[in-house]
């Protein structure tokens, strides 16, 4: 029995003694550019720390956190109760949520699209298939081509729950693997509409969004998102299994510092303060 316990202790603690400061980060595609910038700058300042950043979507990142293949999960939506339950089963933890930045979900259309603004209700009706022609929202007589994200995307889930009120996307909606692919598709499609992080809006045009018919139309600018006046605003999160310690704590503290938050602005998102 003593030998058995000694073997257990040897197996348990030996690998921990030689652990290097390597931090893996996986998850939200919306956050991948931001996470890469954070990692690059931090590694430059702290050469003894290696940070590996990959995307794949919030759902993929959360799965990686649950199965122990990432230290930090980036997510553009909060974890669901079912996901917390799985994390609890595997690691006896509900996960530590860290808000890292704010984001406005921008509605993208082709540069030549005459529609300049939409209400949240109109956006919902477009994406659930109740409005199918641009003429119904003041545009030209053309069928609306819907672009969305895959269902492992946090942006997909957030948009479904908060804009579509948990109704289903129209079956004609084309799911794109990442925000960059979605932006690319809309930029080539005069009748297309898509959504995603404000930081990605290159080669396309943002539509101003009104909370309701009587509300002012707001663009997803820094002031509007930070003040909460832009109607489709969310937090960008990091999740870790346990209260961060050591190198991971230092890295997360730096992200929340003034220096880390300045990167948020440079990438096109909005700092917490």
């Amino acid at each position: 029995m003593k030998r058995f316990i000694a073997t257990l202790l040897l197996f348990t603690f030996t690998p921990s003694l030689f652990a290097a400061d390597v931090i893996t980060v996986k998850g939200s595609d919306t956050m991948v550019i931001l996470a890469q910038r954070w990692a690059e700058l931090y590694m430059k300042k702290n050469p003894n720390v290696t940070i590996q950043v990959t995307g794949g979507g919030s759902g993929t990142g959360i799965s990686a956190l649950i199965n122990g293949t990432t230290d930090i999960c980036n997510a553009s939506r909060p974890m669901k109760p079912g996901e917390k339950q799985k994390l609890k089963h595997r690691f006896s933890s509900l996960g530590v949520e860290i808000k890292t930045a704010k984001d406005g979900i921008a509605l993208y259309v082709h540069e030549k699209n005459p529609v300049k603004e939409l209400t949240v209700q109109q956006i919902k009706d477009i994406y659930t298939g109740k409005i199918t022609n641009w003429k119904q929202v003041g545009g030209s007589d053309a069928r609306i081509i819907l672009y969305s994200r895959e269902n492992n995307s946090g942006t997909y889930v957030y948009f479904k729950e908060n804009v579509l009120d948990d109704e289903d996307y129209a079956p004609s909606c084309q799911n794109m693997p990442g925000t960059a692919a979605l932006v690319n598709a809309v930029s080539k499609d005069p009748n297309g509409i898509g959504y995603g992080g404000a930081a990605y809006a290159k080669g396309i045009r943002d539509v101003a969004v009104k909370a309701d018919e009587g509300a002012p139309a707001m663009m997803p600018t820094a002031e509007n998102v930070k003040s909460g006046q832009y109607p489709i605003t969310r937090f960008l999160y990091m999740y870790v299994k346990s209260k961060p310690t050591g190198a991971m704590k230092e890295y997360i503290d730096w992200i929340l510092s003034e220096e880390g938050q300045s990167i948020v602005t440079k990438v096109g998102y909005f700092p917490l303060r």
Binding site: M1, F4, T7, L8, F11, T12, F13, P15, S16, A19, S63, I66, N67, G68, T69, K80, P81, G82, K88, H89, R90, F91, S92, S93, L94, G95, V96, E97, N151, E161, D166, D168, K241, S242, K243, T245, G246
Partner: protein, 455 residues
């Protein structure tokens, strides 16, 4: 004339390439248009192929395959024999031919799941393939309400909604087997029936859950043999403490059911006389007897700095159990002429789990089952009292280490020390109770490898 001819010749000479260039430009223009048209047609055909492929991808997203296999080596400090079983609650009794070690495919699960997210319906079929053959574990249809998305209705074969451990997947569980209490009360964990579940994903009620079901009450793969159904339910809640990454999770469970007796012999225990009273009226055959359990379960999870998440988990159940002579396990009404023994029981377990980083886990568990609370060990076996092995209480201390090689593979090292109540020393050496005059040698060491896919 000659000059005119020369001029004309020169003009033609210089003009020819011009005509030729114009013709080349026209040809090129036509060629680009053709190429564009060809490209357009090509794109359209690619689109058609992609649309066709999309239907398969959509299907692949809805159809999910998963599974896990647990292979193990076990060794006991005793030898399997007919006098007492070794390993009954550690993966099945060791062979009785003086065998003290064995290899096993303990579980070989393969799960097929199809989810239609438009109608919120789910098909689930799970098989168990081991050296003993093929068995069905889960076979049910689940339908989620499409309005508030908080209610589920399930029908088929699935886990009984009682306590925590019964429904806690062997895939995740840190100990090789469930506690003796759970295995005794809920063999196979599953049952045929229907259930509603309240488990909201959003809103103010996300920290509450309720499961309530109606079941045959005849074991998972047996046919119903009476009209009385068993009602099983659990109501639970979780209180998260986000600041400290801790949570308190608890629930209460109820089992209200009955069993159809297959023999005329009904044994009820008289606590004053410390013996079973036998009723052998012929009319007893076919009568139903109560199976009532009550339980509470609780779990605290918390962070241990620099180590990782930890949990303390416990469950306490008590009630009335119709069993057989030699065992207080779930009475099997599909077996003919089995005398029924009605006993009051209690049981509990407490386990402590500590994660160390992402790859290591240490686990400690203490569990107790007293199948007959109305008699002490030293009173069991007294002459003329009809007490049996099925009245002996057991306690088990288990300790283990789990190493997660990657997200597919884990190694489990687990040692459990089983202690039984010692029976009356007056028991004859020929009695089946004789080995229990002292603690029998039935400790078991398990080395298990588990492979699961996907996670």
């Amino acid at each position: 004339m000659r000059v005119q001819f020369r001029i004309l010749t020169c003009a033609i000479f210089f003009a020819l390439p011009l005509f030729s260039q114009e013709e080349t430009a026209d040809t090129a223009a036509v060629s680009i248009e053709e190429q564009l048209e060809q490209q357009r047609l090509h794109n359209e055909s690619v689109n058609e192929i992609l649309l066709d492929m999309k239907s398969y991808i959509d299907l692949a997203r809805k159809l999910k395959f998963s599974g896990y296999m647990q292979t193990q080596y076990q060794s006991s400090n005793g030898l399997g024999n007919t006098a007492f079983p070794i390993g009954n609650f550690a993966g099945g009794a060791f062979p009785t031919s003086n065998v003290g070690s064995r290899f096993q495919v303990r579980r070989g699960r393969f799960k097929v799941q199809y989810e239609n997210d438009l109608t919120f319906s789910q098909y689930v079929m799970q098989f168990d393939i081991t050296q003993n053959g093929l068995g069905i574990k889960d076979a049910y249809i689940n339908i989620k309400d499409p309005w508030v998305k908080s209610w589920n209705m399930r029908m088929g074969v699935f886990d009984r909604p009682f306590g925590f451990e019964v429904a806690y997947s062997s895939n995740f569980r840190e100990t090789p087997e469930r506690s003796r209490m759970s295995q005794t009360l809920f063999p196979g964990e599953r049952e045929l029936g229907a259930m509603i579940e309240f488990a909201p994903e959003v809103g103010d009620w996300t920290n509450y859950n309720l499961k309530l079901g109606v079941f045959n009450g005849v074991l998972p793969t047996a046919n119903e043999n009476d009209n009385s159904k068993d009602i099983i339910g659990r109501a639970g809640f979780i209180v998260p403490f986000e600041e400290t990454n801790a949570a308190f999770d608890a629930g209460v469970s109820v089992y209200r059911g009955s069993v159809r007796n297959t023999s005329k012999f009904i044994h009820t225990f008289n606590a004053d006389q410390k013996q079973f009273i036998v009723d052998s009226a012929v009319t007893n055959v076919g009568l139903t007897y109560d199976r009532n359990y009550f339980g509470i379960d609780a779990q605290i999870i918390f962070d241990v700095p620099h180590l990782g998440g930890a949990s303390v988990r416990g469950e306490y159940n008590f009630g009335s159990q119709p069993g057989a002579a030699g065992t207080n396990t779930f009475y099997n009404p599909s077996a003919a002429n089995t005398p029924l023994y009605q006993r009051e029981f209690y049981g509990f377990y407490v386990s402590l789990l500590q994660n160390i980083g992402t790859k290591h886990q240490l686990v400690l568990r203490y569990d107790v089952l007293d199948p007959n609370t109305e008699i002490e060990g030293s009173e069991i076996g007294a002459a003329g009292k009809s007490t049996t092995i099925g009245d002996i209480a057991f306690s088990t201390i288990g300790a283990g280490y789990i190493y997660h090689l990657d997200d597919n593979v884990k190694f489990v090292f687990y040692y459990e020390m089983v202690k039984n109540e010692t029976v009356a020393q007056s028991v004859a050496s020929t009695s089946t109770l004789a080995p229990y005059k002292s603690d029998v040698k039935d400790d078991v060491f398990t080395f298990r490898i588990q492979y699961r896919f996907p996670f």
